[in-house]
Subunit: 116 residues, 2 copies
DNA sequence: CCCTGATATTGATAATCATCAATATGCGGG
DNA sequence: CCCGCATATTGATGATTATCAATATCAGGG
């Protein structure tokens, strides 16, 4: 249903830009923009922050709706965007869904800026 | 006219988060989201990339409209957003406007992810 | 002093997005 | 087997946003 490589396949172009196109190509730019789009919302940044700050490394949706003062469907929606962007991992155990940071994902997102 | 601290005043809060709020606060999140909002557009990423790749370190608008296949007003609009976000610097010499990367701005933006 | 060219601004429009209410799904307990 | 709870999905609505056409600003040249 989705073909969003977003983060993982960062190595989709050769090391040397083809002569005449040293700068970011259109498709490459669109891919990178997807990650920043996911980060471009205050509530999503707070979600990442809360999950990161959790001692266990994971949080369930029920712990996330209250501090953000948002409805449960809205939080689920934001979480889905973060998962699709490759930033969060989702694991369902019983009735609860636990979200955790994808290891290295934030560092990789930061690295996107270095390779502009 | 604008009160967008965005990048520069990153030191607007104490070093230690107030007890009870270990995660990102609402206002802090909004500020950081502003920077990522500026980065969340493919054309703006390409603008940054082109300016960065330029040997002289700067580009004028006339050199930026063509590779992006966008109208001149649209490019000016995107450039303004990048300037407001603290990522680009604008200098007008004669009839031309030259844009250059603000030194360290991309690194600082990347650092925002480390301090979530 | 007008004229040309480069850039910025304004106004309008279509697309995207954040949010909520309502509903669906699916697990665990009685 | 039905019920309640946690989460996901759908549909609708209001708010942003990206884009363009038209116009304004403004420097330099004739």
């Amino acid at each position: 249903m989705n073909s969003l490589p977003t983060l993982e396949p960062a190595a989709d172009e050769a090391c040397c830009a083809p002569a005449g196109a040293p700068a970011l190509g259109a498709e490459e730019a669109k891919q990178k923009a997807l990650v920043f789009k996911a980060l471009a919302d205050p509530n999503r940044l707070r979600l990442l922050s809360i999950v990161k700050a959790e001692a266990t490394g994971e949080s369930c949706v029920c712990d996330l709706t209250e501090p953000l003062d948002l409805g449960q469907p809205t939080v689920s929606h934001h979480l889905k965007i973060l998962v699709d962007a490759g930033l969060l991992h989702r694991e369902k155990r019983g009735t609860w869904a636990y979200y955790s940071l994808v290891p290295g994902a934030l560092e990789q997102a930061a690295g996107l800026l270095a390779t502009l």
